[in-house]
Amino acid sequence: MRKTDADGPILEIDSLSISFFTRAREIPAVMDFSLTVQPGEAVGLVGESGCGKSTVALGVMQDLGTNGRIVGGTIRFKGRDLAQLGREELRDLRGCEIAMIYQEPMASLNPAMKIGRQLMEVPMIHGGLSAKQARAMALRMLEDVRLPDPRRILNAYPHQLSGGQQQRIVIAMALMSKPSLLILDEPTTALDVTVEAGIVDLVRDLGRKYGTSMLFISHNLGLVMGVCDRVCVMYSGEAVERGSIKDVFDDMRHPYTQALFRSIPRPGADKIRHPLVAIPGNFPLPHDRPGGCNFGPRCSYFEAGRCDAQNLHMAPVPGKDRHETRCVRFREIDWNQPLQAPDRAARAQVGEVVLEMEGLRKYYEVTPNTLFGSGGKRVVKANETLSFDVREAETLAIVGESGCGKSTFAKVLMGLETATDGKITLDGREIQDKPIHKRGRALVADVQMVFQNPFDTLNPSMSVGTQIMRALEVFGIGRSDAERRARMLEMLDLVKLPRDFANRRPRQLSGGQKQRVGIARAFAGGARIVVADEPVSALDVSVQAAVADLLMDLQRERKTTLLFISHDLSIVRYLSDRVMVMYLGHVVEIGATEQVFAPPYHPYTEALLSAVPIADTHLQKTRIVLEGDIPSAMDPPPGCPFQTRCRWKDRVPGRLCERVLPPDIPLGEGHRIKCHLSADVLAEMEPVIKPAAT
């Protein structure tokens, strides 16, 4: 297959507009969008969900489905207008010059075909290679994407691999044809942080190695900073700012970019000194965008008569290289004005111990067959001897990746499961053996939960009001329906939702609003302990801050104890008092937030910290790449649970890590880690995140 060689840009998008057509109306998804990708350059496309960034990618792939259509502008790939290409040419282009990687690796893999066959197909069909050459090439590529034991993997089926490995295979497959342009659409969103960090590193290094140009689409500013040279920020279908990473991150010239940066927690920000500022209002729906500037209704610099007068165009920022913004006032705004921190009450006073865990254990037995007798039983050790306590009005963050046992712990605490061993004491009462239907009404109302997925947390066929009323009913609050109705409206006020939302169906609400309803429901019975399971991770960045603040306001007012389950260390650092890090069912480190985020670390905490994407050019971090995947809880490794991936293991004499489960080592003031490392080795540890040397 011939490849066209051209100097000049690889991809040139010029005033592209894309609309989707429904029976009722035309929905513009992308408007007046321009972007250039030079050879070897990695360009990031950031924005919140629904801003049109994925539509741009589909437009480049000429794959808009039956309803989508390019209604204006051109896309040129190496100088050739894609709209003028025939079907055959397009297919060739997609097969070997442009490759796309999606969020879900399984969407690109054939589940019924061995990995090797799938990889070999590309060069055999498009490159005319023999099977043997193709196999050699596949093997080399698997080594390039740093998969262990490539020969075994060639003979495996996709479902036998973990999500991270699958995504590596997809990347390998995309690179097999040596494309000139690689489009990555949120390639790591479905993965755990440490796995994500590995993939991002890989993508960056491979891009450099093969000189591939990249279009990297993500909602995560930190990831974009890690991978890209230039970035384009999108809002509601338009590009609002474009430029080099440094220009956009440090000298942004668009109010939306600024607001976005102010709404994300950064390492170093805590909730008192650097409060997050949420962007007010909601994302406009595509069919009722405001006139003039799309960001107008939410912009704090809005000026009537100018911002909403006419359609805006990108304008270059003087004195900068290819830095452009879509704002009429960017010359007048004082960009260096410090953020005025909204007044907020000081941290609530932490009170007595309310909840205590002592050697809590939860094992599951998995039986393969239920109708006829018992096959071989296997035991999943989901929680191993958890011991800690939580005080009133305290926020304890529980951090860990999938499979670390945090959800199981939540279930046991809620009474959905009973503990295998150990004690849970709530206000002096032991509750580990009480399943939820044996707990009294008051106890149930005391321990409540906020769920992760806003699209799933509310029953779609019941109105918002009914769902809160039901919670009130069950918790025995209010004597009559009228009283409960009044109470329900108060709850809506409390979570800052308009009262007429009571009659709405969940599908009429945005993600953040649904999450607020979920919070209202959890607090309805005057809960004293609220388990929040990743309450903001599925929300758009600009609303995350608002929902997190709401949770903390409620906590402060009601002296609620918050157990905040999360994998996002930035937000954990921002809002928690104490942090507990879990790995494979063990608590590996626990302590006050400052203690956990500063050395000495537990080796796993160190790796986790280094994996957090940071959207700040003033900080630099040590990269620690964790090899391999999290072991299965069905057969955990002997000795230390982390020993299969630990980089400090060699510093412990006598291979102790592989034989003996390390004890809890107290480091003072309630800080303890589970590790064999000696005090002087621990003292050697350096902070993972440091100010960048300038």
Partner: protein, 473 residues
């Protein structure tokens, strides 16, 4: 009295018109097919995304022609119906008379559509049907038969069972009565069957039998399927394994054989169908009682009232239907009907069970179910109020399809002479009665066959429409 023609005085005008319309439609269809094939390459090149705008001129021309021809066809067909109503009686043809007899149905249909269309934005899923041509046609067909069943008494021209008029045996459609003094109507509009009964009246009355049994039986099957399928999916474990096994067992049994067994006199004598009815009819009551109890356990008063009412009314119906022991003597169903009913419910329940179980397995992993659990809700509340309402889309679609299936099943049963009394006007029995002389006198079996076909077609289209619209939400 004269033999009626099909079209009456309209014939000379409309027959050529419909001929022309059919011809035009045929030509346009063939032309469009050719053009579509020839231009396929061109159109696909721009696809996807750009197809609609850039299709070649010839393609757009033939497509326009095709829709024009189709429109003409519909207009002429409507002209037959409307014209038939407007003509004076002595000029009407068979179609004209039929159309006039169905007048109450037309009025009801028109009203329903007009009202529904006007308020379609406020009617939820039902309202969305009116955005969907396929769903609308389906709904129209189904409602046609529903209204026919409702107004059957006004529509029929003769008594479908008792009016056996001498000289009218196996007559062609439009035959005048041999002795006009004998009946309240002058003609057998769709002919007479082998026992000299009016085929048209039997078809109309048959709609009533079919539409009384099929939806009710389907509803009962759903009650059984839901009451068993929800806990099987939600609780799982051994309960699930046993029930699933039993369901597979019933499903693996040949349906017709099962029916033959059930109507065998020895089995009936042993009371098997009666006992089955006793069990199966219990499910709706169980369903309602747990439904109220789960929802209103926090309001004991309201719960007690609702549960009490359910027991009272449900119990009364139950005694009457299942045991034929209604103390008031109002409710009873004939033995034959009971057997048919029970068999249909019995055959359908396992399938519904499996569908409900599958949906439950999916929905129970949702966060709102977990939220209900952490609120301390009981298992039945979660199943009936959190899971079931969110499974309603697929269940509704299946409900429509299943009524259609049940209708055919009823036809099959009637065809084999199982269950219903032999002179019952239901469509299956009528087909069975007429099939012997099908080649000589096609109308007696043909008319009910077309009726079954159109009802089932309507139900399937309706299900398609519902499915499409519920996916859009």
């Amino acid at each position: 009295m004269e033999q009626l023609s099909w079209t009456g005085a309209l014939g000379p005008w409309l027959n050529p018109a419909i001929g022309a319309a059919v011809l035009a439609f045929g030509i346009a269809a063939i032309a469009h097919m050719f053009v579509a094939l020839l231009t396929a390459g061109q159109r696909l090149q721009h696809a996807p995304g750009t197809a609609a705008r850039h299709s070649p001129l010839a393609y757009r021309l033939t497509r326009g022609g095709l829709s024009l021809a189709l429109g003409a066809l519909v207009v002429v067909a409507l002209a037959y119906l409307v014209g038939g109503i407007l003509l004076p009686p002595d000029q009407k043809g068979i179609i004209g008379y039929l159309s006039t007899r169905f007048l109450p149905v037309w009025i009801a249909l028109g009203l329903t559509f007009a009202l529904s269309f006007a308020f379609r934005r406020r009617l939820g899923l039902y309202g969305h049907l009116f955005d969907n041509p396929v769903g609308m046609i389906g709904l129209g067909l189904v409602l046609f038969w529903v209204f026919t069943a409702v107004f059957a008494e006004m529509i029929v021209t003769f008594d479908p069972v008792r009016d056996v008029l001498p000289g009218m045996k196996n007559r062609a459609p439009g035959t005048p009565l041999a002795n006009p003094a004998q009946g309240q109507f002058d003609h057998y509009l769709l002919g007479g069957d082998m026992l000299a009964r009016d085929v048209f009246s039997r078809m109309v009355a048959g709609a009533r039998v079919v539409l009384a049994i099929a939806p009710a039986a389907t509803l009962f099957a759903f009650m059984v399927g839901i009451v068993l399928g929800l806990p099987a999916g939600y609780l799982g474990g051994r309960f699930d394994s046993i029930l699933s096994f039993a369901a597979n067992l019933v499903m693996a049994f040949p349906v017709i054989l099962l029916f033959f067994l059930l109507v065998t006199p020895e089995i009936v004598e042993m009371g098997v169908p009666a006992y089955m009815a006793a069990v199966l009819f219990l499910f709706p009551i169980i369903f309602l009682v747990i439904l109220w109890n789960a929802r209103y356990r926090t309001h004991p008063m309201r719960r007690n009232i609702l549960v009490g009412l359910t027991f009272l009314i449900g119990g009364w119906l139950y005694l009457g239907l299942a045991w034929d022991a209604d103390p008031l003597g109002l409710i009873s169903i004939p033995d034959g009907v009971l057997i048919v009913f029970v068999s249909v419910v019995f055959v359908n329940s396992p399938t519904v069970f499996r569908i409900v179980r599958g949906l439950t397995l999916d929905i129970r992993t949702r966060d709102y179910v977990a939220a209900a659990q952490t609120r301390g809700e009981g298992a039945w509340y979660i199943m009936l109020w959190e899971i079931l309402p969110n499974a309603r889309g697929p269940l509704l679609v299946d409900f429509c399809l299943r009524i259609g299936y049940t209708t055919i099943l009823l036809g099959t049963l009637g065809f084999f002479g199982l269950g219903l009394p032999p002179d019952s006007p239901d469509w299956g029995s009528s087909i069975n009665a007429g099939r012997g002389l099908l080649q000589v006198f096609p109308f007696p079996p043909l008319v009910p066959a077309v009726a079954i076909m159109s009802l089932v077609l309507g139900l399937n289209l309706l299900a398609d429409g519902l499915r499409e619209e519920s996916l859009k939400d």
